[in-house]
Symmetry: C2
Subunit: 259 residues, 2 copies
DNA sequence: TAGCGTTATATCTCTTAAGATATAACCCAT
DNA sequence: ATGGGTTATATCTTAAGAGATATAACGCTA
């Protein structure tokens, strides 16, 4: 028993972007003409042309720019607007298939029932959500210690319950999301390499304040950022400003995992 | 620009349950015969019969039991297996539409771009995920304080960044999910009503231990439970056991919100 | 100017899914 | 028996979508 669920974007009630058309657009980008793209997909030229035409007329801006006559008889290319559309569709699609695979993992084939009642598909308030690879999983009876490697190569430790490890089926080699609240991140301007704590080196890229609190964004490399929130008094003592290099420390027990 | 994504369950690569067929099954349940159901949907008797037949032959157990001849000429009813199947499809469908509506909320109509790059649809390690209603939202420039009412009527406070409030579009009256790690929950056996902290009264319903840590499950009423994890030494001092009534305290800054 | 490969368009056929219609078989009720 | 309302099945028609084919218009190239 498998789930299938084609994703289509509609405009004014009419189908706009669907899997087949996306495939066609990619083929146009690759071959530079509708006719060649149609052969590559494969589909008839008529269908291809009609698809391109309805997409262009449905879209506020053209997606494919077409030229008839000229060098090589003309041709068609994807506009920059079309390219961003393709990129965004890919993101949507990826999220959707992620969700579906998890949904189908929860459907019991025999009895047709759910294994858990937990909400899949939660959007979370935590500002820090960073992808990392599971390096090792050490399980005790209650807690489990999980080592995680960031894109930048830095290794952090997360402690969660064994129950959670089993529930999410976390295993070595997987990519998971580290989740922690910005209020659990401590910043310091000194190098203290002795301690065993989770530490991330980075550079301050943004600071926002209000009456009581300050939010500091730290760039930790490879396009990953960490956000810390603390009382303004703490920041003033440290004399931090944009461009300062700092060390962010996060307790292992403050790092949750998501999948 | 709207998203549409029909959900179909497949069996051996063949379509098994889809929206139209579910509608038909409900009509059969209501009217007691395929022919009346077909008129009610509406669809031709041929399509209805074929749909029922392929579903029955694809399914390991019959979904519709059919009788030809007899009182009122016979008729068709949904088997108990079919009923659970309908119920489970409804659950799947609900999760799916939830996800889609959130996904489409993130798609910007004008530019066709995403508002966030964050992962929607995360399954989270935190053991404590409790539904609550937003009573009030107090926004500062950096942080926001949110009052939440549980099913049992108890009110807790969560502090998250203003950015998160805007991002999740959290507003008064909504139902959200409070999320906190079991290691952030403190248990005490004494009544201390002075403090301003988040406190939940409850009864211990389960205890598990390993070499270092102990996991305590507290029933806080209305089928909600809170899980706390602490070093065994702490538990020993308090002499807690199953049935003890305790107070669980959680810092406002340790409570994340999900939607 | 002739040729080329393309876009743009019209027309016809083919295929497939759905509806329409007819009818047999069934079995209880009258 | 007969009638009624159903399941089960076959056949014909209809509609819609996709492919096949032909051809005009286009603008660069040689």
């Amino acid at each position: 028993m498998e789930l299938s669920s084609p994703l289509t974007l509609e405009m004014l009630g009419k189908p706009f972007l669907l899997e087949k058309r996306i495939e066609l657009l990619h083929a146009i980008a690759e071959h530079g003409s509708i006719s060649k793209a149609a052969k590559a997909v494969p589909m008839s030229y008529k269908s291809a042309w009609e698809a391109v035409d309805t997409m262009n007329s449905l879209s506020p801006e053209p997606i494919v720019s077409r030229e008839t006559g000229g060098k090589d008889g003309g041709g068609s290319t994807i506009t920059s607007y079309g390219i961003t559309l393709l990129e965004n569709y890919a993101l949507l699609k990826e999220e959707h298939t992620r969700f579906l695979s998890r949904l189908s993992a929860l459907t019991d084939i025999e009895s047709g029932t759910f294994k858990t009642i937990e909400r899949l598909s939660l959007q979370i308030s935590a500002r820090n959500q960073i992808q990392a690879k599971v390096v090792s999983v050490q399980c005790e009876n209650v807690n489990a210690k999980i080592h995680l490697k960031l894109k930048s190569g830095q290794v952090l430790v997360s402690v969660i319950t064994k129950e959670a490890v089993e529930n999410l089926q976390i295993e070595k080699g997987q990519i998971v999301t580290m989740i922690f609240k910005s209020s659990t991140v401590l910043l310091s301007d000194i190098h203290n390499e002795k301690s065993e704590e989770n530490r991330l080196e980075g550079v301050i890229s943004k600071i926002e304040t209000d009456r009581e609190n300050v939010k500091v964004q730290v760039d930790i490399g490879d396009h990953d950022t960490v956000v810390a929130v603390m009382p303004v008094t703490v920041l003033e003592k440290m004399e931090l400003k944009i461009g300062s290099s700092v060390t962010a420390t996060i307790k292992a027990s403050d790092i949750m995992l998501g999948k």
